[in-house]
């Protein structure tokens, strides 16, 4: 059992620190970035093989150890470096490595690792939220193609994406889960329409995606037809380890502490100081739970049900931090979508708080995560 970095790891930390100092862009929110900004940043990372950081070398990743991965996340959070679009490198990539054909891997993995293709995720539908398996978007096999009809919703960044990975219904026999397939679809295909949904932070991140007689080659089916649910579960596990958002929380708490310290009134406000300490302590626990999960992942084992706990605790903490920031800002939090006047530090406080309410809903709502834990961790 050991926490200290080796000499090689310390050298790596220095390399990352130096590189980030030279290459970090002047914006930090990947969801708010334009497509061009995001792709520039991803391609800058890709040149260093630092875009698909969780990938092994054979697929164009850096093949990092858990410790290297930890150092990378820490250093990015320290300088407030932007995240990357998770749908390609974090979600679709690992799916293709595990379930894709050699042709699918050759077609897509290099584009993901090089940052030349942006992805989005077609899961939820108007009638299929927490009950995802009741999804209705239909893919009908006609010769060498699927004809796709239906609608996806809450599709983050669909308006910037080149490709979408979708759960579609290819059969109606047996349990609802059994007729679901995992399909890759080019967003430029005729018959796809993307309509914006404006969220309560006043921004456009979310979309509805409509499919009308969209032709998709059967070679874009990942895994077997009707086995998409297995892939979806695999992917949810992968999403959860990242969704805890530990490095981001660390950066935010450091910022909030500095802001409290810089304020004559907040500095001596015992209630604020206590809440900061409570959240920082919660974050320490979460950080080590996350490290344990990363270690499991690095050993090649699939994430266990514990990752559901990470999702729950991580999103609760993110929301608590956002809530505290709004309160700390006081009147400075209220200017809405305008240039901040008095306290620029709190310019994004309400926006983050508002959109942050989505975190306990997406990726499998926290209530669904509790169902998962009840079943798989406690055997109920």
């Amino acid at each position: 059992m050991q926490l200290e970095f080796s000499a090689e790891e310390k050298a790596f930390q220095q390399e990352v620190r130096t590189w980030l100092a030279e290459n970090t862009p002047d914006w930090s929110d990947w969801m708010g970035a334009t497509r061009e900004q995001l792709m520039n940043w991803e391609q800058t990372l890709a040149k260093k093989h630092w875009l698909a950081v969780g990938w092994p070398k054979e697929f164009g990743g850096p093949g990092w150890s858990v410790t290297q991965r930890y150092i990378w996340d820490e250093e990015c959070a320290r300088v407030g470096a932007p995240g990357i679009s998770v749908f390609g490198a974090v979600m679709c990539g690992p799916v293709l490595m595990a379930f894709g054909t050699p042709e699918q891997q050759a077609e897509h993995l290099p584009h993901i690792a090089n940052g030349t293709r942006l992805w989005c995720q077609g899961y939820s539908e108007p009638g299929a939220g927490s009950d995802l398996a009741s999804l209705k978007t239909k893919a009908e096999r006609v010769g060498d193609e699927y004809i796709v009809n239906g609608q996806k919703i809450w599709t983050t960044a669909a308006h910037k994406a080149d490709w979408i990975f979708c759960l579609v219904r290819t059969g109606s026999e047996g349990r609802p889960q059994e007729g679901i397939s995992f399909l890759l679809i080019d967003m430029k295909s005729p018959g796809i329409e993307v309509r914006p949904i404006h969220s309560i932070d006043g921004e456009h991140h979310l979309n509805e995606v409509f499919f009308k007689d969209v032709h998709v080659p059967v070679t874009n089916l990942v895994g077997e037809e009707g086995k998409g649910w297995t892939i979806a579960k695999f992917l949810l596990g992968h999403e959860r380890t990242g969704v805890a958002g530990v490095p981001g929380c660390k950066g935010q708490i450091a910022r909030l502490k500095a802001q409290a310290e810089a304020s004559k009134t907040l500095k001596d406000d015992a209630s604020i100081q206590t809440r900061l300490a409570e959240l920082e302590v919660d974050l320490m626990a979460l950080e080590f739970t996350n490290l344990r999960a990363l270690e499991v992942a690095a050993s090649g084992k699939p994430p266990g049900p514990e990752s559901s706990g990470l999702k729950i605790k991580g999103t609760e903490l993110q929301q608590a931090l956002a809530e505290l920031e709004v309160e700390m800002g006081g009147y400075a939090s209220l200017p809405w979508q305008s240039d901040p006047i008095a306290e620029p530090a709190y310019a994004n406080a309400t926006g983050n708080y508002n959109i942050g309410r989505a975190s306990t809903i997406y990726g499998g709502s926290n209530e669904i995560q509790k169902n998962v834990l009840a079943k798989f961790a406690l055997g109920l």
Partner: protein
């Protein structure tokens, strides 16, 4: 970075678990808990034969050379099995102070008896006026030709009624809350002027109030340097804090497991309670708190194995602040989900509940440790600013 236990550590944990589950069944525990001594002299003796007491001491001092990882694993298993032997007061509090501060002659006089289970020692540092502040000390030590005279009143001396000698904190100089001027003295129990008033404490075990009236002790009773005891005292209390957290974590695991098992068999409305979603989610909340607590224990193990003192202080306060809240939640929900039987003496759940309630207070509660955590954070950032200024 590596979070795995060695084979030896895993074997140690397994053997402690086995011993505790065999030696400490619930009926046995109830007899021991109700006894005047509050522990089992037989089992304590057996632990000495198994050399558990010698575990976290250096080989040079006659111990096994194990560190905080092994200590916390052992405490965790004692917590899981509701083992209330006086390990923490003897081995962690008194024993560690003797090994850190004692000279060769003191170590030779006191450690062998501790290791084989024949002698017991208690740390007498707390005073009610100071709540949890280890620097708070009204008790006075005045040097004279024959050594020192001690006067004062000590509270909540853990396992005091069973102690053969006390390690007494007294002030040589300075104001009541000053960290400087504190000294520790080894005082045998039959010394004139000592009065011991024992009582059982919540959750098992005993403690005492210790009154010192003109207690005359020789100069060689001084442990360490005069007036310089604070640093060692604080570090030992920090270690005891995380050790008691590990014990609490073990008890939390047991409470969760017992609750899940009970709700699988208890039927109401014709179905097992475990099938009801609101109760499933409550047990999941308990499970998550147990998981997070495990992470905190892991963090503490790592910090106490290789961290510097500043990191250890923060780790101890963070760990206790978290575990106090989490243990209270798990204990309260375990009682709630058991229903009426959960508030009776008949079931072990109520006994775990009391043990965890006492844990919350020992060495400082969540409020105290959150405050300390905040203050330590400010000191650390001040000193790193100073370092940066110096470097510039």
């Amino acid at each position: 970075m590596d979070f795995s236990f060695t084979e030896e550590q895993t074997m140690l944990r397994d053997s402690v678990r086995r011993f505790v589950s065999e030696a400490y069944d619930f009926e046995g525990y109830r007899k021991i808990a109700a006894s005047e001594a509050g522990y089992s002299p037989d089992i304590w003796q057996q632990l000495g034969e198994l050399q558990w007491q010698a575990l976290p001491f250096s080989e040079a001092d006659g111990g096994h050379g194990y560190g905080p990882v092994e200590l916390l694993l052992l405490m965790e298993e004692m917590g899981r099995g509701l083992c209330i032997e006086p390990y923490l007061p003897n081995v962690v509090l008194a024993g560690q102070l003797i090994t850190i501060l004692g000279n060769e002659s003191q170590k030779n006089s006191f450690l062998p008896g501790l290791f084989d289970g024949s002698q017991q020692y208690s740390l007498a540092h707390a005073e009610l006026g100071g709540r949890y502040d280890p620097a708070y000390c009204e008790a006075k030590a005045v040097a004279n030709d024959d050594g020192y005279t001690l006067n004062g009143q000590k509270s909540m001396v853990l396992n005091g009624p069973n102690a053969d000698a006390f390690i007494v904190l007294a002030r040589s100089t300075g104001e009541t809350e000053n960290q400087n001027g504190l000294s520790l003295f080894i005082v045998p129990k039959n010394t004139d002027g000592l009065s011991i008033k024992g009582y059982p404490i919540l959750g098992g075990g005993v403690a005492c109030e210790l009154t010192l009236s003109n207690v005359q002790i020789p100069a060689d009773a001084l442990l360490g340097s005069e007036g310089q005891a604070f640093e060692a005292l604080e570090s030992v209390i920090d270690l005891a804090t995380v050790a008691s957290c590990a014990e609490a974590y073990g008890a939390m695991q047991a409470m969760l497991e017992k609750t899940v098992e009970y709700l699988k068999t208890r039927k109401q409305f014709g179905v097992p309670l475990a099938g009801m979603q609101i109760l499933q989610h409550r047990m999941v909340d308990m499970y998550i708190e147990v998981q997070q607590s495990q992470s905190m224990i892991l963090m503490a193990m790592l910090r106490f194995s290789e961290g510097n003192r500043a990191e250890q202080k923060q780790a101890a306060s963070a760990c206790k602040a978290y575990l106090h809240k989490a243990s209270k939640f798990v204990a309260q929900q375990a009682v709630q989900l058991h229903g009426g039987i959960g508030v009776t003496e008949e079931l072990d759940i109520g006994h775990y509940f009391r043990r965890l309630t006492a844990f919350g207070t020992l060495f400082g509660d969540r409020s105290y440790h959150l405050r300390r955590f905040t203050e330590l954070g400010k000191t650390t950032s001040e000193s790193s600013k100073d370092e940066m200024t110096e470097a510039a």
